[in-house]
Each structure stands twice: as C-alpha cells, then as structure tokens.
C-alpha cells in the first residue's frame, strides 16, 4: 500500500501531521507492507534563495501582528504533542531541500531526511536554507557527500521531480499542505488527528482489492470452458 504525503519542510502543519502519521503507522498492524513517499510542495515557489529571514519578520510582513500570534497558537498545539517548536526559526527557499529529498527517495532515506529537516527547522531553529547546512543534514542520514554536493551544485538535478510532484498536487486539487494520498484512491487534506490517519490506514487497507463491477460477461476459465452465457 502506497501513502504519498505532499508537504513543505517549513510548513508547521506538515511537521505536526507527519509526526502523527508516523505514530499511526508504527501502530498499524500491516505497517511493513506500507510504503511512504514524500511529495514536494513548496509553499513559496520562486522565492529568492538568498532571502533568508526570521519567521516573525516574515509573518508580520504578510499578516501584521496576527502573523506571529498565529504561529504561537500552532506552537502551543505542537508542544502539547511533545514536538519541539521554535517560533524564532528562519524561513527561506525550500527548493534545494526538496531536490535533496528526491535524491534521498532514490536511496530509500527520504523519510529520515524529512525528519531531520523538520527537527532542525522547528526544533532547533537551525537554517535548512543553505548548501552547507543541507549537506551536513543529508550526510547525517547516510547520503554520500559527493552525491549530495553534486545535487546542490546542479540546479536542474531532481528539479523535474519537484515540479512533477507540484503539478500532481494541482491535478488532485491540493491547494495547501499537508495532503495525504492513500493508495492513489483516497485523499486527506490537512493535519488530521492521529486517530483519523490511523482510521484512513485501516479502511484503505480493507478496500485494497478492487471490486469487480460487472461479472456477467462471458469468460474462458482455466478448465477450458468458454460457455455462451444464457440470457
């Protein structure tokens, strides 16, 4: 069963929902048969990579005093779920992080890299927006430094994968993140409670066989019979 999660590494609800999802998944009896894929969704595509700024300044510019207040509400909720949350963190372009997440996906390490990116950004207010910072984080989850460096130096590396994820999100009608797609059949938008995600895992599992809609047509069976159906 394939679970795809669209999100951004600077998206607070993605941070919260991804942690909830992994908790629900760990408790799910068929978790070994579940494959999880990160899908890229930049909250601010086209942001100047040189423009790194504190989140309170960014939110104030966008929403006035309400901006930082909104973030403090999310912080309270995240901490209640034992997720460290710094409101004095930074924000910047996440394109390089997404390109590296695709490299990590190829190596089977995307969920590990996503986790350390979330921890660095939300838990420690560390920058995840410069090449040296990303290189250390990626190397820390076992990616080869040379491969990471090569991706960071080539702006086209994995760019098509990031864009494909974003256009798939648009096709699915996902205008915000997190966005969960269960087995390409069921979608959940937003940070559902852990129990909602657990229930989605269970019900998607139960319906994983595709129902046969019509079975009245004539068939040939392995015994060699190909009878004409009688009306």
């Amino acid at each position: 069963m394939l679970i795809e999660i669209w999100g951004d590494v600077v998206c607070p609800w993605c941070y919260v929902a991804t942690a909830r999802f992994h908790k629900a998944l760990a408790a799910f009896e068929h978790h070994e048969e579940v494959q999880v894929r990160h899908r890229s969704f930049e909250l601010e595509p086209g942001r100047d990579p040189a423009h790194i700024e504190p989140v309170p300044a960014f939110l104030t510019r966008r929403f006035g005093a309400q901006g930082p207040a909104m973030d403090k509400q999310v912080a309270t909720l995240a901490r209640a779920e034992k997720l460290p949350y710094r409101t004095d963190r930074l924000v910047g372009s996440t394109l390089d992080a997404h390109r590296l997440l695709h490299l990590a996906e190829d190596r089977g390490r995307a969920q590990q890299l996503l986790k350390v990116l979330f921890e660095a950004n939300f838990g420690r207010a560390a920058s995840i927006f410069t090449a040296p910072a990303l290189l250390e984080l990626a190397a820390g989850v076992g990616l080869e430094r040379d491969a990471v460096q090569a991706v960071l130096e080539d702006p086209d590396a994995y760019l098509a994968d990031v864009r494909a994820d974003e256009s798939a999100a648009a096709d699915l009608g996902a205008h915000g993140v997190p966005f969960f797609l269960f087995d390409r059949r069921r979608a959940l938008s937003g940070a559902q409670p852990a129990e909602g995600l657990a229930e989605a895992l269970r019900s998607t599992w139960k319906t994983r066989t595709i129902p046969v809609l019509e079975a009245e047509g004539a068939v040939c069976a392995p015994d060699g019979s190909c009878a004409v159906p009688q009306p």
Copy 2:
C-alpha cells in the same frame, strides 16, 4: 488513463472482447490519452509445449460432445460480429506467445502482436505454438528478428513478467479471462458488449480525479497562512 486487459491468445472470449474494446476505444473521444496494456493469463499453465492438438479433440476430451458444440456457439456469435472464427484450429502452450507479448510491450507493439496472434489462431487456424511460427508473426509487426529469436531461445526471458501478471490477476480475484482493469480502479470481468466497454471508458474518464474525503484538517496555504482551525 491506463486500461489493462488480462487474456490468453487461445481464449475465444478474449478474441471477441479485445476486438469490441478496440472498437469502443477508437470511438472514444479521449482515446489518445488511453494507454492499453496486455496482461498475461494462461488458460492452461504448465501445458507441455510439445503437445499441439486440434481444438475439437481437446474439447471432446474435456467436455465430451458438448465441447465442440460450445465452440460452435461462440463461432456463430463471433462471425455475427464479423470476426472470422475457425473451429478446426489448434491449441497448445501459449507461454512463448505471452513472453513475446512482453517483448512487444517494451517496443510499444503488444496490441499489434496480439491482433496478429488472434487472427492467425482464430481466423486462419494457423499454429501460434511453435518458435518458427511465432518468429514470423512477431517479425510481421516490426519486432527485430534477433530480439525475438533471443527470447524464444531463452525460456527465462520475460518469464517473470508473465508470472507477475498471473499473480496480479489472482490478487484481483480474476479466475477467468478476459478481465479488464480500468485505471487500476474499476474492473470488468468477461466479454462485455461493446457498449458496456464504451460506458466503462466514459465513466472511468469522468472519475479520474480522486475525491478529497476530508478537508477539515489544518493546512498551510501558499500565502503563508497556517491558521489553527476554530472548532
């Protein structure tokens, strides 16, 4: 949109249903966006490849006098749809034909090869059970002779693909063929009328976007807002 059709080259209802499907597809307005894939299903897996015999003898052995009578009923129905149908054709192992169909799939020629296999078997009562016969038919749809010869000489070539198709059919609950899978979401078993196949194409097309089941969760939107939902 992907349409997968499980079938066997000696299966009369597959012959009839595949012709109906291609007729429905040609008339379907979005036919250029439809990809068709042959999926292997041997009616008699494990049949001795050296054992080639006339169909009437095979059916009599299996079902008594009723066997050939059953085939004549199918013949009447097929001819009414302008599909030539010889009841004096041969039957044998179809494993090599399926392995070649997978080679043809790699070259984008599987539907063409399937068509000539059906025509040779049902229309002309020609053998499709020996390497020289298969080589000529495959070359006739543009496959390189060397590649075809190599597959015919190596019993393991594309064997895993044939077995994967057969085990996927079992997972889907398909115990006979033809079996149609529309976009991995809807299945039709048996030789439906052309109108039923046309309707399945239309309705699968209409529902190709996946509905979002729950949209009440908290999301971060591209404007940077990540508001806490108010109960």
